[in-house]
Symmetry: C2
Subunit: 116 residues, 2 copies
DNA sequence: ATATCATTTCGTATATTTGCGAAATATAAA
DNA sequence: TTTATATTTCGCAAATATACGAAATGATAT
């Protein structure tokens, strides 16, 4: 049989964003930048985060690659900001994903509970 | 000077859930189980997903470990369902995370803003 | 007891992630 | 030009993730 499905684009996209958020340091950076509504130097972050400079740099690179943040060169500093457009897109993607299941699962859960 | 922060619990938790969702196959499984209003056999999933049985089994194991799904043995099948309680918890966690940067919330962070 | 069935675990291979310090880069100041 | 500063890239090691087929598991049917 095997009616194999090509994984739908939204699943691929959610996985991609989730991967970018799959490390506490990166979540922390996003939280901070999203809350601040302003930019932030790598040096500010390395002072408060429990990782070395080069490691932080890699996390920033990954977030940049994911599109969630952007870096603006402002020598000798680099200012990092949330990429509002992509962050909002990610937010919508997740909102949809998280609410795909509202009325449904009460059935499953109650039958689960009854079987115990 | 290096006021290193212990990464806050919610950042750690969001990263943990994100990691569980960082593979398209796992996202697809969650989408399906959340939408389905019932449970699902591993065999049903392997027929439609482009991975082998043992690989799927590993993804299910990881989702189970994350708490997002639960498996109920019903020999010779195993029925998988969303874990309603944990999924709701994850949803709330993400909702908060995704909305931390709303204008209303930024108001509440006034002490933060004033410090700068 | 043997066979069958759905699923998992094991063994293995490969790829990716995470982390660090050292060296490189790029700019500004002395 | 030399020096200092902020950040990134390089080189490496260790850990984790992904994937598969083969073998094991646990239950039922013959």
């Amino acid at each position: 049989m095997t009616t194999k499905v090509k994984l739908p684009e939204n699943a691929v996209e959610i996985a991609r964003i989730s991967k970018a958020l799959s490390h506490p340091v990166r979540v922390y950076i996003i939280q901070k930048l999203a809350k601040m509504d302003s930019c932030c130097y790598s040096g500010d972050l390395v002072d408060e985060l429990p990782v070395g400079r080069s490691t932080l740099s890699q996390h920033l690179k990954e977030l940049k690659y994911s599109g969630l943040i952007q870096g603006e060169i402002n020598p000798p500093y680099i200012k990092y900001c949330i990429n509002r457009g992509n962050w909002d897109k990610a937010k919508r993607l997740f909102e949809d994903f998280l609410n795909e299941n509202d009325p449904a699962n009460i059935m499953c859960e109650s039958s689960e509970a009854l079987k115990k």
